[in-house]
Structure formats: C-alpha cells, structure tokens
Amino acid sequence: MVSDSPGKRVGKGTVFVKVEVCKGCAYCIEFCPADCLRFSRNYNAKGYHYPVLAKPELCVGCNTCGQYCPDFAIMGMRYKDIDALEATKSAVNDDDRSGAEAPGRKS
C-alpha cells in the first residue's frame, strides 16, 4: 500500500480520492480554500466525474474537502502527517521482525 512517492511531492499536502464512492457533487472543488481541485474528464463506474488534484503545488492538506464531502470519498492529508504515519508503521514492522517469537504468532 504505497501512498505516494516522496520524489514527486510538490506542495505541503495532498488528497486521496476514492473514485468509485464519489457522486460528483462538487462541494470539495467549490470550497477548497486553495482552489486546487478540478473535475476529472473521466467518469467513475456510476457515471459521475470525480475530483482530481489539478494543482498539487497549491494543496496544503487542510482536509476542508474531506470535511465537506457528503460521501466520505475524499480526504486531505499533510505530508508531515503521512511521514509520521509511515514512520510509526515501519517501526511496528521492524519490531515484528526483531521479535521472532512474537506472542500469538506461529510459523
């Protein structure tokens, strides 16, 4: 589950869109404070245009889009929060590897 590649990062944050959940109401696009979202030219399986991050350099990951979304389809995150999450995740994985006899786990 690779969320994004740090090499491609521009701006301070990004949004994640569940394309198939979106109903194309445009709340996120209209009320984005940085005006960085646009409708995609493509349709999802239900026949709606879904939002895409058209200007990634403007996004700050404030999650205003996620707070407006009536279908819980979009979520904004700051890169520093993503990095902190990835760090805790990899720390947990390292612990698992070091403790070969982890309780409750056979094989």
Binding site: M1, Y27, G66, P70
Partner: protein
C-alpha cells in the same frame, strides 16, 4: 453548475494519479456503519455533510459511544439513524421526540440526539417538539431543513418559502413558512442555533455545545435538496445553493429569534440565538417531589446521574 466549467485540462489530467491509496482510512468512517454505505442521499444533498460534521463532533467530544443514542423519524434525514455506528432508533413518522423522551427518561445517563428533518419534526411531529421544549428535556435536536418533503416526492412542507413551486403547490406556495428558531425559543428551548451546510466548523462546535448543554438544545441546519426543491424551482444544483448560503448568510449571535425568518430577499441569519439556563424536566420533577414528599421520595436521574 456545469461540470465542464471546472474540469481539469487535458495536459494536467495526464499527471494525475488516481490509484494512490491513503495511508489511513478516513477517520469519519469509524463512526458509520460501513456495510450500509454508500448512502441513499442524492448527489449534492447536504445531509451527508451534516453526518460528516456530526461524526467529527462525536469523535472530538470524547463521549463513550456506548452512552450516545441517535433517534430519527421518517424521511431522508430519518435515514441518519441507520448509518450511524451507535445505538439508534428509526421510529415512526414524526414520533422521534416521544421515542427519545422515553429513552432519555428510562436511562438518564444516555446522551440522546434526535436527527430528523423539518417535515418530520415540525409538521407531523410539531406538537411533540413543542412539549419536549416546554419540559426542557435534556436532549439535542438536529433538524436538517431542506424546505421540502424529500423522500415522498417534494410536497409542500411547513418550511417551504413563499412562492416556491412544489408538487402539491404547482402554482406557487401561498402558506407562510414557519420560523423554526422562533418556535423553539417560544416553546422554551434552552439552546437554539441555526447554521447552514456551508458552516461546517461552526456546525461541529454547535453540535458539541448542544450535546454538553443541560436542557433542550435545537440546531436548525439549512441544507439543499437538489432533486426536488432546487430542480423544481430552477435554483441550480446542490453546490449552487450552498454557494448561495455562503454569500447570503449573516452571523448574528444572540439575534432576536423573531427576526430570523427565512425569506426570499433577506439574508439568512445564522448563529447561536438562545443560550439560557432552565431546570430540566428531571430536575424539576425531583425538586417538586422532594419538596412535597420529603424523605419518602428517592430522586431519580437529573443532575446527580451516575455516568
């Protein structure tokens, strides 16, 4: 609103990667019954945004979710009880407040939230609303006002503005609409606020305040109904109406509720209108019976409730 007006250019579209997956699930989903999603509300409907705000208010309120119950009546907003991952009650039309009253009095430790629409709470359930407010029962009423009966086909509701067309008013509505905060204030509600779907942060704060407030709290939330109200009146899409709310709402905390009626020309007054202290029903009952019966009466619920 025409989607092509705000569409990404061809050049930018190539750079967009839609296959990325978020490192965590949307935290709001933990408050919802995910097996019931996607919900039935139309594209552009504001009820989903209200549920989003309510979920975040619950998450940040720090309540034990085993002590929160949602009660809904019938209607589009009445579906909320089915989508919240809480103890919930989907009751008969208009009778959400009587059910909530019973729930609150049988278990005084419970936080009861009534989530229903304007038609359910003020047309068929109007009498229950008045008496619950008069008694100052300790509960939060969230009324999503979309100016129509959405689920049954756009009939005229007690909140439909004058001159707007509805399926049962094809030549324009001539019945004056109800001023919901004024009704709540006059009946004795101890917390009255109005926000729109545009005011998400204020809404989260108001919902938290209403849950903490001791007594009858009422929040009116204005929401677009794109399929029945807006389309029939040629008012555009859901997002156009929310943009209208953004441009035409005026914040007036503590405004006289007589002056906050929704009309076609005046700006929409939003804010917290009433915040007053009154003894709740259980406290008044305990005080009265203790005064009359003395030691023979054991107080029940009220301020001394065990959480």
């Amino acid at each position: 609103m025409n989607p092509t007006e705000i569409m990404v250019s061809d050049a930018d579209e190539k750079d967009v990667d839609t296959s990325r997956v978020a490192p965590i699930e949307n935290p709001v989903l933990s408050m919802l019954r995910q097996d019931r999603l996607p919900h039935i509300w139309c594209p552009g409907c504001g009820i989903g945004t209200v549920v989003n705000c309510f979920s975040r208010a619950l998450m940040s309120s720090g309540h034990d979710m085993n002590n929160v119950a949602v009660v809904s009546g019938i209607g589009c907003t009445g579906r909320v009880a089915g989508y919240m991952n809480l103890d919930s009650f989907h009751t008969t039309h208009g009778r959400s407040i009587p059910f909530a009253t019973g729930l609150r009095l049988a278990n005084p430790g419970l936080k009861v939230v009534v989530f229903s629409g304007d038609g359910d709470l003020f047309a068929i359930g109007g009498n229950h609303f008045l008496h619950a407010a008069r008694r100052n029962l300790d509960m939060l009423i969230v009324c999503v006002n979309n100016f129509t009966y959405g689920m049954t086909g756009g009939q005229v509701a007690p909140t439909t503005p004058l001159k707007s067309t509805q399926s049962t008013m094809p030549f324009g509505n001539f019945e004056p609409p109800m001023n919901l905060p004024f009704v709540a204030d006059a009946a004795g509600a101890s917390y009255v606020a109005r926000w729109t779907v545009f005011h998400i942060r204020q809404l989260v704060r108001a919902m938290k305040e209403g849950m903490e407030h001791k007594g009858f709290s009422f929040i009116e939330i204005m929401s677009p109904c794109p399929t029945l109200y807006l389309r029939r009146n040629k008012l555009g899409d859901g997002v156009d109406q929310v943009r209208y709310f953004k441009e035409h709402s005026v914040l007036k905390n503590g405004a006289n509720t007589q002056d906050v009626a929704i009309t076609a020309t005046d700006p929409i007054v939003v804010g917290t209108f009433v915040e007053r202290e009154r003894p709740t029903w259980l406290d008044s009952r305990n005080a009265q019976l203790t005064a009359t019966l003395g030691d023979r009466f054991v107080p029940y619920g009220g301020q001394n409730v065990q959480k």
